[in-house]
């Protein structure tokens, strides 16, 4: 696992300060969406090899949710952005 994460608020930090909170590429379906769509959103996850988007919670630091883009094979970290900023970007 990527061992150093550059938090946009705190700087370079070891991974021990974070909690990984799962896939960040999912988009919540509308409340009127079908049961199948909700089932997929809540339970079904891919197990990707390569680039992934994940939510990382900086528990011991700024306590913000971050969206980390990293590679599950090479452990390379491509980008780290604040979760709120990423969510605004998606909504646009």
């Amino acid at each position: 696992m990527a061992s150093l994460i550059t938090c946009p608020h705190c700087g370079v930090r070891p991974k021990e300060e974070f909690a990984v909170r799962g896939d960040a590429s999912l988009i919540r379906p509308a409340s009127s969406a079908s049961d199948a769509a909700w089932h997929d959103y809540v339970y079904v996850r891919v197990n990707p090899r390569g680039r992934t988007l994940e939510h990382w919670h900086h528990v011991a630091g700024c306590r913000r949710f971050l969206v980390v883009e990293r590679d599950t094979v090479t452990h390379e970290v491509y980008s780290v952005v604040d979760g709120a900023a990423a969510a605004r970007e998606v909504r646009r």
Binding site: C10, P14, E17, A60, R63
Partner: protein, 184 residues
């Protein structure tokens, strides 16, 4: 049933007895230090920071975006709350943490070496400058670390973790003959 509550400092048990003379590396524990958290309302972060940093005897410790720990060396806990309420008004949420947090000041020529045993952040002055502050993990405990002098650091920790952090720091400082006492 009537019960008497004793307002005890979290480290009273650890630092009981006559104080020993301070060594070169010394851990000073703040006794009844006034501390408060300030969380700025959305969009008003810059205004709150300006109001707080314009006050000379308040020390601002960065926690996260729009969130600070405010430490005062001159106020009582109640006085600090009154002052912050006047400064921030409705722009921020202010919560008194004087009984909820414990402040420890680590000073001495080996302070950096002692902290490096538990903290995964570069503490060289070029990376962590004088006046800088941030939340970090020390061992397994989240603390707010700030540099208030070349070889002087302050750690602010939740009260319930204070004993554990204190023991960790004393273990980390044993090769350097770290001593400890209350600040007054």
């Amino acid at each position: 049933m009537v019960r008497d509550y004793n307002n005890r400092h979290a480290l009273d048990q650890k630092l009981r007895g006559t104080p020993k003379p301070a060594n070169a590396d010394h851990l000073e524990v703040g006794h009844w230090q006034a501390i408060a958290t300030v969380l700025a309302s959305v969009g008003l972060e810059a205004a709150v920071e300006r109001a707080l940093s314009s006050t000379p005897d308040l020390s601002l410790r960065y926690c996260g975006p729009g969130e600070w720990l405010v430490v005062s060396g001159v106020d009582t806990p109640l006085g600090l709350m009154r002052r912050l309420d006047m400064l921030c008004g409705t722009q921020a949420h202010v919560v008194d943490q004087s009984d909820g947090r414990v402040l420890m000041r680590l000073s001495g020529p080996s302070a950096r070496q002692i902290l490096a045993k538990g903290i995964g952040v570069d503490l060289h002055p070029s990376a962590f400058a004088l006046g800088g502050s941030t939340n970090v993990l020390c061992g397994h405990i989240a603390v707010n670390l700030s540099r208030i002098g070349e070889d002087v650091f302050e750690l602010i920790v939740s009260r319930s973790f204070a004993e554990s952090l204190f023991e960790d720091l004393m273990t980390m400082g044993r090769p350097f003959d770290l001593s400890a006492a209350f600040s007054d």
